[in-house]
Symmetry: C2
Subunit: 119 residues, 2 copies
């Protein structure tokens, strides 16, 4: 099984970057939108500002780290069900974070199998 991890750097964010709660709420909506199931969450707070929040999913995870001083949010989306669209999950986060410019999105292919394989 091959799955696509989205690694997103969202610049110029106008949304809340220093409070984990609305971000975790958006991560939960993102999971619900694609039919993924939350199995837990955690967060860490940086000094003087910024947070990292993770939503553990039965289908892997969503992670957001913020850099308020740069209006930057770094997002990782990994959904191990290939029928779930990580771009649909990102749309929920994007609606909260409101990057002014297009976010830089990197797709990384990951292969859930016994061997690396070639495809």
């Amino acid at each position: 099984m091959e799955i696509t991890q989205l690694i997103i750097d969202a610049y110029g964010c106008q949304g809340p970057l220093n409070d984990a709660e609305p971000i975790l709420d958006a991560m939960t909506r993102a999971a619900e939108r694609v039919g993924a199931h939350s199995i837990g969450q955690a967060q860490a707070r940086y000094v003087p500002h910024g947070i990292t929040a993770i939503l553990f999913l039965a289908e892997s995870h969503i992670l957001v780290s913020t850099w308020p001083e740069h209006q930057l949010a770094m997002v990782d989306l990994l959904l191990c069900n290939p029928d779930m669209d990580p771009y649909a999950a990102w749309a929920e986060l994007e609606a909260l974070l409101k990057p002014v410019s297009e976010a830089r999105i990197n797709e990384t292919l990951r292969r859930v199998a016994l061997e690396p394989g070639t495809s």
Copy 2:
């Protein structure tokens, strides 16, 4: 500031994949090896097996997800201090996970700045 995120799929792991404790211990050693500072940790357990563990660092995070049924560990290493070598951190994890074949390592460049930039 540009930093390199390592995204690693380690196949044929002979190390413990179903117990978060030794994995979190190795993540802690990985952080110490590069001089990073832990600010928290969290884990989730999958049914029937497998775990995801995250070590929150002052310098970003280390995340490991395991798929015991595939002898597979997926590792994310993000260190926001460009002087810290993520490959040195990976070496600590690799020593525990013991993938039989070479792990598939993907480097993703992330840019901590106000704008995406070009370099």
